[in-house]
C-alpha cells in the first residue's frame, strides 16, 4: 500500500500544480514585484531599466495633501457603504423571512443589481442622476423641494460621492441580504416559540434571539465588504471619475500621468492599511 499512497501524493501534486503556478505567477509574484517597483523610479517604457531610489516615493506620497484627501474619501466611501449594505441587507432579509406568494421571484429580483454588469447599471444610474433631466433631481428638487436647485450628482466632486455611495449600496446590499437570509432560515423556530410563551415582544425576540445568531455572518460580511470596498475601482470610476477614492487615485497616477513608481507605493500603503484593519478586526471584533 505504501507505493500506492506515494503515487496518490504524486498525482495530488501534479493536479494542484496548475493552480499553484497560476496563483504564484499572477498574484504572489506581481505583489512582490509591486513592492520592488515602489522602491524604483519606473521608466515609462516597461522595457527600459528602472532606477533604485529607496523610500523616496513613500516620503512623497505621505507628505502629499492629495493623497490624504483621497485617503479620506476612501474612508468615507468604505464606512458608509459597509454600514449601508449590511443594514439594508439585514432589514430586507428580516422582512422577507416569511412565507408570502411570489417569494422566490422577489428574491430573484432583489439579486438583479448584484449580477447586472457594472457598466450597464452605471449607465442606468447616470441617466437617473442627470443634472438636467434626471428623475432623481426632478423628485428631490422639483417635487419634494429638498434642495434649492438641480445638482450635478455625477460630475461635482462634492455631490458625486453621494451618488457613488447610493449606487454601491444598491448594487451590493443583495449579497448581504442573501447571506443573512440563509442564516435566518437556519434559526430554529422553537427558540421563538419559547420566547413567545415567555411573553417576549417582536423587538425583544429580534434583539435576544435573531441578532446573536447572526453575529458571525454579519461579522464576516463587514470584513469582506470592507476589504472589497477599499479596493473598489470600477463601481466608482464608471459612475463618476470625480470621486477620487484611493484605487481611482492609483489608477490615474499610473495610467494618466505614468507615475508608476509612486502609484505602486500608494498601492503598497493601501494594502498595508487593509492588512492592518483585517488583523485588528479579527482579533478585537471577531475575537478569533
Amino acid at each position: 500500500m505504501k507505493i500506492k499512497t506515494d503515487q496518490e501524493a504524486k498525482l495530488g501534486y501534479w493536479l494542484i500544480l496548475p493552480t499553484v503556478l497560476a496563483i504564484g505567477g499572477l498574484i504572489l509574484y506581481p505583489v512582490i514585484y509591486n513592492l520592488w517597483l515602489s522602491l524604483h523610479k519606473v521608466n515609462m517604457n516597461p522595457n527600459l531599466p528602472n532606477t533604485f531610489i529607496g523610500l523616496q516615493h513613500f516620503v512623497e506620497v505621505l507628505t502629499d495633501i492629495d493623497f490624504w484627501t483621497s485617503f479620506k474619501t476612501s474612508l468615507i466611501f468604505t464606512s458608509t457603504t459597509v454600514v449601508g449594505t449590511t443594514l439594508l441587507g439585514l432589514g430586507v432579509a428580516v422582512l422577507l423571512n416569511r412565507k408570502f406568494p411570489g417569494r422566490s421571484i422577489v428574491r430573484g429580483i432583489i439579486l438583479l443589481p448584484y449580477v447586472t454588469p457594472v457598466i450597464s447599471a452605471a449607465f442606468g444610474w447616470k441617466y437617473l442622476f442627470n443634472p438636467v433631466f434626471g428623475m432623481f433631481n426632478y423628485v428631490v428638487v422639483d417635487v419634494l423641494s429638498l434642495m434649492p436647485q438641480h445638482i450635478n450628482w455625477i460630475e461635482s466632486p462634492r455631490y458625486a460621492i453621494f451618488a457613488v455611495i447610493i449606487f454601491n449600496i444598491w448594487r451590493n446590499f443583495p449579497f448581504a441580504f442573501l447571506m443573512i437570509l440563509a442564516e435566518l432560515q437556519s434559526i430554529s423556530g422553537t427558540l421563538y416559540e419559547a420566547a413567545e410563551v415567555d411573553g417576549a415582544t417582536g423587538w425583544q425576540k429580534f434583539k435576544h434571539i435573531t441578532l446573536p445568531e447572526l453575529k458571525f455572518v454579519i461579522g464576516a460580511l463587514v470584513i469582506l465588504r470592507t476589504i472589497w470596498n477599499f479596493y473598489k475601482f470600477s463601481e466608482v470610476y464608471l459612475l463618476s471619475s470625480s470621486v477620487e477614492v484611493l484605487p481611482v487615485y492609483i489608477y490615474e497616477k499610473a495610467f494618466a500621468t505614468y507615475n508608476f513608481g509612486e502609484a505602486a507605493a500608494i498601492s503598497v500603503i493601501l494594502f498595508a492599511f487593509v492588512l492592518g484593519f483585517i488583523l485588528y478586526y479579527v482579533r478585537k471584533v471577531l475575537e478569533w
Binding site: 509574484y29 447586472t116 454588469p117 447599471a121 449607465f123 470600477s234
Partner: protein
C-alpha cells in the same frame, strides 16, 4: 383584535416590500424605458419612465455595425469570457479533486494559500501585471485578459467544486479503482459526469466575472477592435455616440445574456455563496 393586527402587519409588510422593489427596479425601468424613447423624449421635462412614442431605432442602431461597433465588442467579450472560464474550470477541476480526495503533505497549506487571493484587489495587481504583460509582449492582446481573468475566479471555483466532489460517495470511486481504473480515469468517467451541474455553474460564474471586468481591460487593451463590452461602451460614452437611447439599448443588450445565465444557475450559485466562498 388578532385579525385587525395581522391585517395592519400585512399592509406594513406589503408597503415595505414595494419600497424595496422600487429601489431595486427603478434603474432597470429607467434603462428599459429610455432605450425605447425617441431622442426628443430622452431629455423631456418632467422625466417619464415610459415613452409616449416607443421606438426600436436605438436597438437597430446598436446592432448595425456601420454605426456602432457593439457586435465587435460583444464578440471580444464572448471570446475572452469563454476562454478564461473554460481554462479556469479545467484548472479548478484538477485542483479541487486534488484537495478533496488525494493526500499529500503541504495540502492544507496550499489550500489556505489559495485564500490569500482575497487579500489582493485588482487595483493592487494592475500596475505590476501591466509591466509584466508589456515585457512579455502581450500588451493589446486578448491573451493578456484571458490569463489575468483565469486566476481571479480560481478560489471560488476550487471551493465550489471541492465541496461538490466531497458529496460524491467515496465508495463508488474505490470500487472503480478496484476494478482497475486509474485515478485519472475515475475523474474522467465518474466524477465529471456526476458533477456536471456544478461544473456548468462554476463555468457560468467565471464567465460572468470575465464579462463584467473593466479595470484590467482598460489598461491592457488599446485597439478599438479588441475592446470588450465594458471598455468599449465606456469609451463610446465620451464620443459622438453620446445618445442616451443608444447607450441604454447597448447596456441592456450587455446585461441580458448575463442575467439569463445567472437565472439558469441561481439556485446553485446562491447555495454555493452561502456556504461562504465568494470573490468579487
Amino acid at each position: 383584535m388578532v385579525g385587525k393586527k395581522s391585517l395592519k402587519n400585512k399592509i406594513i409588510f406589503y408597503v415595505l416590500l414595494m419600497l424595496v422593489l422600487a429601489f431595486v427596479l427603478i434603474p432597470f425601468i429607467t434603462m428599459i424605458g429610455s432605450s425605447f424613447k425617441p431622442d426628443q423624449e430622452q431629455t423631456a421635462l418632467p422625466p417619464k419612465f415610459i415613452p409616449n412614442n416607443p421606438t426600436l431605432k436605438h436597438y437597430k442602431g446598436v446592432l448595425n455595425p456601420e454605426i456602432f461597433p457593439f457586435l465587435v465588442y460583444f464578440k471580444n467579450s464572448l471570446i475572452v469570457a469563454f476562454l478564461s472560464a473554460g481554462i479556469g474550470v479545467v484548472i479548478s477541476i484538477f485542483g479541487s479533486y486534488s484537495f478533496a480526495r488525494l493526500e499529500y503533505s503541504g495540502r492544507s497549506i496550499i489550500q489556505r494559500g489559495v485564500l490569500i487571493v482575497y487579500m489582493f484587489g485588482g487595483v493592487l495587481l494592475v500596475i505590476p501585471l501591466f509591466q509584466m504583460i508589456s515585457k512579455m509582449g502581450l500588451f493589446d492582446t486578448r491573451t493578456s485578459l484571458v490569463i489575468t481573468y483565469i486566476v481571479q475566479t480560481l478560489p471560488v471555483s476550487l471551493y465550489m467544486l471541492g465541496n461538490y466532489f466531497r458529496t460524491i460517495p467515496e465508495s463508488i470511486e474505490e470500487a472503480a479503482i478496484i476494478d482497475g481504473c486509474s485515478r485519472l480515469e475515475v475523474i474522467y468517467r465518474i466524477v465529471l459526469p456526476l458533477s456536471a451541474p456544478a461544473i456548468v455553474s462554476v463555468f457560468i460564474y467565471a464567465f460572468m466575472i470575465a464579462w463584467n471586468e473593466y479595470l484590467f481591460a482598460s489598461v491592457f487593451i488599446n485597439s478599438s477592435s479588441l475592446r470588450t463590452l465594458p471598455l468599449g461602451l465606456n469609451q463610446l460614452f465620451y464620443t459622438q455616440h453620446y445618445i442616451w437611447g443608444r447607450m441604454m439599448a447597448a447596456s441592456i443588450l450587455t446585461a441580458v445574456p448575463v442575467i439569463i445565465l445567472f437565472l439558469s444557475i441561481e439556485r446553485f450559485i446562491t447555495s454555493g455563496l452561502t456556504f461562504g466562498g465568494v470573490k468579487e
